[in-house]
Each structure stands twice: as structure tokens, then as C-alpha cells.
Amino acid sequence: MLSYTLKRILGAIPTVFVVITVCFVMLQLTPGGPFDRERKVSPEVLANLQAKYHLNEPVYKQFGFYLNNLLHGDLGASFRYADWSVNSLVANALPYSLTVGGTAMLLSIVIGVLLGITAALKQNSLVDYFVMFLGNFGSAVPSFIIGPVMILVFCIWAKALPFGEFSLTPAYLILPVALLTLINVATLGRMMRGSLIEVMHSNFIRTAKAKGLPLRVIVLRHALKPALLPVVTVLGPLAVSSVAQAVVTETMFAIPGVGRLLVNGAINRDYTLVLGLVVLVAVMTVLFNLIVDIIYATLDPRIRY
């Protein structure tokens, strides 16, 4: 297992390198630079700025500078936020994103799996209809519609929850976590339901039933593990897509997290900030997929590393 994990981590280095290179090239090719403003800067000022950020060097040298800094753990200076390094911007934003995203992820797994199991075991019951409705609702209605409605109802009409000047307190966390959970539960619940129904119809479950085992034992001991496999498979991509969701939710709920940095970084052509965040997301993706693969092995006895 250890050698497998090490191999995977080493194997991820070229992947991350390719991602950085592609992103670097794409940023270079995007029209409009970090210093394009409504008021055009004078040639003197532009020359000074380009010298400060090494933009007057050939592109391969700029890339070399960047990689060298990266190897030393330095994501560089932000082009837009002159007072901050990308390291400190990311370090400040990460706790917010991880708290919101992580809490939502945990809640969605617990709620999604439980709802999925209940729906699968009680097909065509009220719970089942509810899960199906939730699944369709969460997939069909985008977060940028649900979010503002939540804000309108809970913050403005009912004045039950605060809005703006976000802080990591339960009152502020409720809405964004609820929104992200709702979206993820929609996916996970539907998937768990479908998967468990399929497993429950397989031969080995029929055998278990024929042996007279109680339903509780059949589900917990025999059906749950194989039924969880597809759910675990989507957890990796789902965790990464939470970053994409964060772009929307963080803007909506004014959360000072990574998603908002990414949006502003792209708008401002803040090359170093965008690259830094891409590195972060790439590393996270590799990490999540690794964790998923390890969980896989514990669930499916046929898989051994």
C-alpha cells in the first residue's frame, strides 16, 4: 500500500507540471494583460511595471522563474494585490473554503447515503419520492438561483440570519453549507438509491434472503459495501467540483475564500494568483483521487494494491 501511494504521488508530479504549463501558456495567450485599465498607463509606467514583474523577459525565462519559485514554495507576488504575496492570499482564503466545502461534503455524504438507502429499501414510498424530487431539483435548479432565494427568505424577509461581513460562525455557515449540501445530496442520494436497488436484485443477495437473514444484516453486511462503490467513485470529482461551486457560492455569500480569489484573479489577469490556485486545485484533485482509490480497496476485496 505504501509503495502504491508513493508511486501515485510521484506519478502525479508530471500531471501537475503539465497542468501548470498549459495554464501558463493559456494565460499568456489570453488577450488583455494585468495592466490594461480603462485609463491606459503611459509607456514609462508600463515599462516599469513589466520590469518589476519580469514581464519584459522572454516567456521561457518567465516560466523558469515561476517554476524555480514554485519549487521553493513561493507562488510569487500578486499582480493585482500589490501588498500581498500569492502565498498569503491563499493561506488567508483556504480556511474559509475548506470549512464551508468540508462541512458540506461531510454532511452530504451522511445525508445522501442515508436518504439513498432509505429510498432504495422503500421504493415508491414517500421517502423515495422525496429523494427523487430532491435529486431532480438539485440537478435542475442552479445554485445561483437557490442561493439568492435563500438569502431573500432567511436574511432579508425573516432577518433570522446575518448576511455580509462573513465570519466562520454557525450563523454565517448555515446557508452556504446548506446550499452546497443540497446540491451534493441530490447527486449522492440518487446515486446511492440506484446503486443499492441494483445490488439488492443481484444473486448473492437473493441467496442471503433465501438463507433467511434479516434485512438489516443483508443490507449492512452484504449490500452496502458494493453499493457504495459508485458513490465513492464520484466523491473525488465531486470534491473537486466543489471548488467550482465555491466560485458561485463564495461570490453569492461574500465568503472570502479561494473561489472568489480565482474569479477576481481571472478578471484582473492576475497571472501568479491564477497559476497558484490552479496548482492548488491540481494537487487537491490528485490527493482526492488517491484517497478515493484507497477507500476503494477497503470496500472491494477484489482490488488490491
Binding site: T30, R37, V45, A47
Partner: protein, 536 residues
């Protein structure tokens, strides 16, 4: 002439008395004790370093943290700041006398040397300031930023600890106005040298404005507290200011409605009419010194024909555009200089008074002369950056041209930075544009039409216009100077290099307990020290 040169010291005590927060409560009202003002501030500030402040959000915070030789109240009046008086001693020389009781937020005294240090550091090419426009007016500023002269050649000299002599490139009547901006403030040398790039962080920053920095969480909040060492602290009523950076105008409005903000930086486009009828007392619609216009590429194969440019401008009904399409109190514009701008008179096209039918007939005749008719209609392409406002205006323009002149047009929208590059490079035919002044003088607008100016996206050049601007620049007599500038603007607009549409307004919401949020405030600076909060 000499008397005119000796432009007088501002007798500002009367104006200052008017601006005192203490006078802002109505009968029966009491000022709130320990008041906090929470301001919606648009985007996150890019920097609190005075050499890097550039955007409106950063200027708002900078206005509270820093004070220049002069300051500006919420009527846009220029008042004494760190300097208690000043005098223009020659066409390009000024002497400023600093007040003896001016102090930094750590209690150190402010001296003339602090200004010299600050300005020299900003123009140093190594500092790479993003916003050097003000320093281009100071003697040798442009050359120093271009690396051609040492920073010590900059036109600022400490005569003694409390006297500064400033030399400008050309006679610059608006110098006191420019000096009120945070970019022109002094810099606390000791803390800057100790902390370097981190000098702006909470705990490190030593500033000289009415407020000092307490907390700064990027994308979350920026908290300022009253600076007890500020020379005019006794007239500062609000104890704490919180700046909230939220880009989405919709989110900001929701925060305001939820009671989390005391002011909204800008209400979402298209909501003005509803908001003003729901809460008329909370709506403050400020007309700023800004012009919304469409650039015409004067070197484009089609647009280089003046008759085409004139015809396109003539048929746009600005009244319908401002009243029906936009409805945010914008003022229709038929010239380059907007009302309220110092240093030139507002001029309008004669045809702006004509009935629309006559304008359309004249425009049709011009197009016919240029060789366009029903069989050979004019086809144009219009570019704008993605935004509801610009889309609305672009659609309106195309429909006006189609219905009145039979012009067929296409629209292209681009992401903001892509669009800026397109426009700066002149790769367009007709493009959305807007300009608000950095300092209150007509030359800020005339920069748009000067040959080869950085801001001239129009690719327009008329040597006669440039000659008039240069003459004006060298003239000290304000009336004569304004005459040259007015003629220059008028002459340029007779060439129809652009299509002026309206003067910008900023509709904002401010809670009724906040006082001193005056409109009109043409320069649109709202320093918290001139605001107050009554008990509520």
C-alpha cells in the same frame, strides 16, 4: 498679471465650519456615540500603498487613511489639509505652509521632508507605480518615471520643516485639487524603511488621515478606527469605519436591505426607479464628472468619413436614452466637457435643439453625400464589454440607426480586459467608452482628443486642437485659459471624433441616519470624516 499670479490662499474656515459633522443633526436629534459606519465598497482594494492606489475602492479607503496637503469635502470643495495655507508664487511655482500640529497616527510630527520622501519614492521607476498621472504634472515627473532623470530632480523641495515648494511642468491651476488625492499624501519614512512592502499591514501602517488601519481581511473586511493624533480629530464624529468588499451589486443591495451595510457603493443597473419609489430618502444620485460615449475609430475605412460620423451622432435621441432606456437621472450630452468641470465651458452641437425630424433629414443627406443609400446601405460593427448597461445602450444605438437611417449593424461583446486591449489597439469600428476625470479640469477630458495621447483611443488628431490646448496650458489667466480650452473642445467635437451620450450618475443608497452624504459631489469622494451618524 502679478496679482493674478498671486492666487490667494483659501479662506477656508467658513467652508470648514459648514463641513463639520457637529452641524449635521436636525433639531431634536442627537449624534450617536461611538458610531460605526459600514460602507459597501465594490471590489477588494488592490493596495493601501499610496504609490499603488488606483481604483475607486482603494481611493475610498485611502481618503480616510491619508491626507495630502489639501483635502476635499463632500461638496468637492478643496480645503486645507496638512497645509494650512498656500500661495502660487510664479506661473509654475507654489509654496505650501504645513500646519505645525499635523501628526502621524503614532504621534510623530509630519514634516515637509515626509512629502518629499513620499513623492520621490512614487516616481522612482523601481517603485513601478500603477498610477503616475498626477506626477506627470510635477516638474520632471514623467522623465523620472521614464528613468531619464534622478528622483532628486522632482519638482518638490522642503524649504524648511514646515514649508514646501512645488514646481509644475506647466501652469497648473488645479494643483490644489490634485493634492487632495491619497496618492499625493506623505509617507512615514521610518515605518516604510522598517517593514518595506509590508508597511501597509495592520499594526505596521503609520498613516496621517482621520482614520488608521485596525484590521484587513482580504475579500472580507477592512476596519479603520479614528486616529486620535489627527490634527482635526475633534471634528471627526464616526469612531469606526468598516469597508465591505463585495463585487456583486445585487449582493451588496441585499446586504443593505438586510441591515448589514449603511451605504451601497452603486445600486444595480435598472433598479433605480423601483428603489427611489420604495425609499426616496435613502437614494442619493450623484452626477459625477464623467462622460459616457462611444468611440469612433477615426482611421477606420468607413469611419474616417466625417459625414458618416456626424450622421451617426445626430440621430441618437439622448432624451429617450437617458429617460426611458436608462432612467437613472443621467444628463444628455452633446459635447466633450460635462457640466461642473472647471477650466472650460460646456458646449453643445447646434442641432441638439432641432426637432428630431430635421436632425434625421440632415443626417440622411450627409450619408447620401458619403455615398450610402437604400441600395448601398451603411453597415457598421459595434463593440462593447459584457454588461447589462452597455448592452442596453448598444441595442438602443443600433435600433436608432436602423430605424432612422437604415443602417445595418452588428454587435460584439467582449470580456472587459479583452475589450480594453481591442480598444486601446484601435481594432474596432465603434466601441463603448467612458471617462471620468482624475482631477477637476477640462484638460482631463481634452486628453481624449489630443494627438497621440495615451487616452486617445479614437485615433483622432487635429493639430489646431492641440495648438489651442497648448496655448491654454501656457496661459495663467483663468478666464483666458478657459477660453482656449473651450475652443479646443468645440473644435474637436466639430470633427465628430466620438458620439457623446450622457453624463454619468452614481445612484447609491445611504441609511437615513448617515448625514453629510451630499449630492451633487462632482469629484465623488466621500471621506468619512465629513460624515456623521445620528442616534437611531
Amino acid at each position: 498679471m502679478k496679482q493674478q499670479r498671486m492666487l490667494s490662499v483659501l479662506a477656508a474656515s467658513v467652508a470648514l465650519a459648514l463641513a463639520l459633522p457637529a452641524t449635521q443633526a436636525a433639531a431634536g436629534e442627537k449624534m450617536a456615540a461611538n458610531a460605526t459606519l459600514v460602507r459597501g465598497n465594490g471590489a477588494e482594494v488592490e493596495s493601501l500603498d499610496i504609490s499603488q492606489i488606483e481604483s475607486q475602492p482603494a481611493i475610498n479607503v485611502g481618503d480616510d487613511l491619508y491626507e495630502g496637503l489639501t483635502t476635499r469635502d463632500t461638496h468637492s470643495r478643496i480645503l486645507p489639509g496638512v497645509a494650512e495655507s498656500w500661495k502660487q508664487t510664479g506661473p509654475t511655482t507654489w509654496v505650501f505652509h504645513l500646519r505645525k500640529d499635523a501628526k502621524w497616527s503614532n504621534g510623530d510630527a509630519i514634516t515637509a521632508a515626509d512629502f518629499v520622501f513620499s513623492w520621490q519614492r512614487t516616481v522612482d521607476p523601481k517603485t513601478a507605480t500603477q498610477y503616475g498621472i498626477f506626477f506627470e504634472f510635477v516638474k520632471n515627473g514623467k522623465a523620472i518615471m521614464g528613468g531619464k532623470q534622478p528622483v532628486t530632480d522632482l519638482g518638490i523641495k522642503a524649504v524648511d520643516a514646515h514649508t514646501l515648494e512645488i514646481t509644475t511642468e506647466t501652469p497648473t491651476a488645479f494643483l490644489p485639487d490634485m493634492l487632495a488625492n491619497p496618492q499625493m499624501a506623505p509617507l512615514h519614512k521610518a515605518s516604510f524603511e522598517k517593514f518595506g512592502k509590508d508597511y501597509t499591514k495592520p499594526g505596521n501602517l503609520v498613516s496621517n488621515g482621520a482614520y488608521r488601519l485596525k484590521e484587513w481581511v482580504v475579500n472580507s473586511r477592512l476596519v479603520l478606527e479614528k486616529n486620535p493624533y489627527y490634527w482635526n480629530a475633534k471634528n471627526v464624529q464616526i469612531a469606526k469605519v468598516v469597508y465591505n468588499p463585495t463585487e456583486s451589486e445585487e449582493s451588496v443591495l441585499k446586504m443593505y436591505q438586510a441591515g448589514q451595510l449603511d451605504s451601497v457603493d452603486r445600486t444595480p443597473p435598472g433598479m433605480y426607479q423601483k428603489l427611489v419609489s420604495d425609499s426616496p430618502k435613502e437614494m442619493h444620485n450623484n452626477r459625477i464628472l464623467g462622460l459616457y460615449y462611444f468611440s469612433l475609430n477615426n482611421q477606420d475605412a468607413v469611419m474616417k468619413d466625417k459625414r458618416v460620423r456626424q450622421a451617426l451622432s445626430m440621430v441618437i435621441d439622448r432624451d429617450i436614452l437617458t429617460q426611458k432606456v436608462l432612467g437613472e437621472g443621467q444628463v444628455p450630452m452633446y459635447g466633450l466637457i460635462v457640466p461642473g468641470t472647471a477650466g472650460a465651458a460646456v458646449s453643445s452641437y447646434d442641432w441638439s435643439k432641432w426637432p428630431m425630424a430635421k436632425r434625421v433629414a440632415a443626417a440622411k443627406a450627409l450619408l447620401a453625400q458619403a455615398g450610402y443609400n437604400a441600395g448601398h446601405p451603411l453597415a457598421i460593427k459595434l463593440s462593447y464589454n459584457t454588461s447589462d448597461l452597455h448592452k442596453k445602450v448598444s441595442l438602443f444605438l443600433l435600433s436608432e440607426w436602423k430605424s432612422k437611417l437604415g443602417v445595418s449593424g452588428s454587435m460584439e461583446n467582449q470580456e472587459f480586459k479583452v475589450f480594453l486591449k481591442t480598444r486601446h489597439d484601435g481594432n474596432y469600428q465603434i466601441a463603448r467608452n467612458g471617462w471620468s476625470v482624475d482631477y477637476n479640469d477640462a484638460t482631463s477630458f481634452l486628453d481624449l482628443v489630443r494627438c497621440g495621447s495615451d487616452q486617445n483611443d479614437l485615433k483622432y488628431c487635429n493639430k489646431k486642437v492641440d495648438a489651442l490646448i497648448s496655448q491654454g496650458d501656457q496661459t495663467i489667466n483663468p478666464a483666458k485659459r478657459a477660453g482656449f480650452m473651450t475652443s479646443a473642445a468645440k473644435l474637436a467635437m466639430e470633427d465628430y471624433p466620438m458620439i457623446p451620450l450622457f453624463q454619468y450618475t452614481y445612484p447609491r443608497m445611504v441609511k437615513p441616519w448617515v448625514r453629510g452624504w451630499n449630492v451633487p459631489n462632482p469629484m465623488d469622494h466621500y471621506k468619512t470624516q465629513f460624515l456623521s451618524i445620528v442616534q437611531h
